[in-house]
Subunit: 342 residues, 3 copies
């Protein structure tokens, strides 16, 4: 058979490194599309002139362009037969991605644990995105539940020890970044790092009603070709499941209203796609400040933020029910570090 | 509160200059998207080779890309609490925008007049778009009706004296533009400046049925994030209002069929968004030649044109009813100057 | 009348060369949009780094970008009054199209045959796409049935002798192409030229449900403005017919799954748009290996492939019914040559 059946649980080996297919050059075209697909307004990712005023050579591509591009490459090898996308950890952006960079991705299997039912198991991979200079631009751990195809003996279970969050000392600030002359008026809001208190919650107010064409354009752009996003005949209910990363980008873009100066994502501490999202849903977002830290870079502080995406109709700051489970209208619970001017 | 509530009528002061947020670098990505979103076929904006044959260094970005980008930046400061977009005047394109240019925008408050009900007022702003060299690429006056939030004394009314149209002598022809070797076959039509008579009307024949995904992609591309365009829960009728600029670009692109050689927009004399436009509407357009003028540039004439967008089912050349009001299917009445080969 | 009525059968003359309007510069923006519109994953068209490892200076634009761009230019002159798109033959890609290239198109009338009803006729044109150096990048023959507007004497019938397929010896391999160091893992599949047998059929498995917004964005991107694709009021049934080229690109992109290494299209032998396609259709594809040939280039072989697009619900490998006609769910039957690593 010539087509790719995807990997099943028994096809993974501890320590193996999977080189993912289809490297990708990203450019101003991907940037323009990102701005058409998401209400992204971060000045650093919008204007070369603004980026230069912050010590960068030009405007990098959105950090989530890098994430989605790398993630998309892993789909045929990691999640084609996945039952569930269970979590993210230890994600760090290590270098900006510039227009013209060519990205590729590889994943190391760092954990395997068969489920007690013998029909599936959990696979942990540490994925790296590399540029044309073989520099790592992004790394993260992701774990998924994958079906078994055949009856095979369970491998020795290995569950990797993962940090609950990236430590502030491990955050990487892009070379040259300098927020000491940061233009708050041009950036859109006056709030500095010091204006955000741990525990503070922000309702980002705006909402976006999602169309089928939009999430498919976005998901294809990242060369993520999982059937369930594109083929209305795949699910019994005739609906196309929206790629979780589309929800991440929409929520992050909506968070501009209140977090306009949370410019760069530098770490992905954790993330849960709490409930499925479908076309017709109107998505809103809120954030909570989880932690604050300094960095060695001039004028640059870091905020650890929870970003929650909800469907229209959710209670204010909806998150979990009394049973501890995510409330039904909650779509995403993301924990990340961002760089913010002091 | 960290989020932007927008400005209310009492927040504006005569003479103040508002620097709008989120500068933007535009490139070949925005150009490609413009061609995907609108049936734009102007040869000067489509081909570097054609633009060079007309004396330009390369193909500039569509004049309406410049307009929408600048307009989008003003939304959070000017129209977030606007009840109505009342008019445009004295608009001029002063320099082409090239791929790679970084645009920002600022507006000066040039008029204020509280309404007699004391609950809203009209604000006039003169908006300028500037490139990374601080050169003005575009300027226009726009006035909007804005709500008041609090009871405050009415300011002394100032209504600016605005020209009914940009005078031909004030049109700015881009440096180097030369239509003396213009290739009419490559441009798509044989009609020269002299072939158009004042009073002549042209039915542009073609129609486009609009989808939700399209107008949202377009409006986001210009970083215009007014809720009413994106959030289906915002209006009581569950409909998303289409950004008036989307109608301008669609109508202008449709006008290629009959005005293929009306290459460059150089002035915006007036404009009215006569009726709201929604997804599902099929849009058509017609034009009327209002005036003709020479320019000092070789082979370059100017036509003053009325561009009218209507919904399917409108009578031929529909404009106003017997009561003098715009007929219900009329969406747009735009008055502009364009450069045309002699 | 200023608008273009299109050409009717009696407007064509044997041997005339029509220079088509609106040249077009294509860039990274068009490439990004192509990846958003189609699930395209060919590594050579995705990554500059991969293209360089294959001996090219950078990643060319997808061969079908070149085809659609050239095709779109011919629409106002060739198919505005066409009743049916009857066939393609003798298509060859002669040079890659690079980002920044400016394309234009011209067609020579090589055949004319009035139908016996005297109300329409068949026009054959040989179309060439040229770049800014006046080099031909693409050529193909296409024939369409065009209506007559007036009663005119039938021209002497000329039916050109067309080859049933481009001969392998006439395939043009891009200068420098070298697959001897081809990275099969990065490209996504391990199958070499020698792994494909004549007669082998491949079900490409994946399906895509098509939205109105998507096919209109695509079709506009190629500046193909035939009414029937955009105006829901044009057909009596209120449906917008999807541009046949959209189906070609979707099917070709889906064929990655099983033909990931069929990197470059070098010839279009024949093609039929078997049945109309509409939004809501879920499109699938299958391929058949028709022939194999060597080329003089290092590591480069050629496969002649039949690519068939079908609607959801089609029988496996559906093509023709017992009456010899295409089965109703068959949308496209395309015959092309592709370059594949040995």
């Amino acid at each position: 058979m010539k087509t790719n059946p995807g990997r099943f649980f028994e096809d993974y080996r501890m320590g193996e490194v999977i080189r993912h297919a289809v490297p990708r050059t990203v450019s101003g075209g991907e940037r323009a599309l990102y701005h058409a697909l998401y209400p992204a307004r971060g000045a650093l990712y919008s204007s070369d002139a603004f980026a230069r005023s912050c010590g960068l050579a030009q405007s990098p591509l959105d950090d989530l362009i890098a994430f989605h591009t790398v993630f998309g490459k892993t789909v045929p090898d990691v999640s084609l037969n996945a039952v569930a996308n269970l979590g993210y950890a230890e994600g760090r952006w290590l270098r900006p991605v510039w227009p013209g960079d060519s990205l590729r991705a590889q994943s190391e299997v760092i954990g395997l644990k068969e489920n007690s039912n013998g029909r599936s198991g959990v696979v942990w991979v540490r994925t790296r995105g590399l540029n044309q200079h073989d520099e790592t631009v992004l790394e993260y751990v992701r774990w998924v539940m994958v079906r078994k195809r055949r009856e095979t003996p369970a491998p020795a279970p290995v569950v990797p020890a993962l940090k609950p969050a990236v430590e502030a000392a491990d955050l990487v600030v892009p070379a040259g970044l300098d927020f000491s002359g940061y233009d708050f008026a041009l950036a859109g809001e006056r709030h500095r790092w010091g204006d955000y208190a741990v525990g503070e919650r922000i309702d980002h107010v705006d909402g976006v009603t999602i169309e089928e064409a939009e999430h498919m354009l976005a998901t294809r752009l990242w060369q993520n070709t999982a059937k369930v996003h594109f083929d209305a005949t795949h699910r019994e209910d005739g609906r196309r499941l929206i790629y979780g990363g589309h929800v991440i980008s929409l929520a992050r873009a909506l968070s501009f209203n209140g977090l306009a100066n949370a410019q760069m994502m530098v770490a992905l501490n954790a993330g849960a796609h709490a409930n499925p999202c479908f076309a017709g849903d109107t998505l809103r977002a809120w954030s909570e400040v989880l932690d604050r830290a300094g960095t060695g870079a001039p004028g640059v502080g870091a905020l650890r933020l929870r970003l929650v995406a909800v469907k229209d109709g959710a209670a204010p700051f909806a998150l979990r029910g009394e049973d501890g489970k995510y409330a039904p209208p909650v779509l995403l619970d993301l924990d990340y570090w961002a760089l913010v001017p002091l």
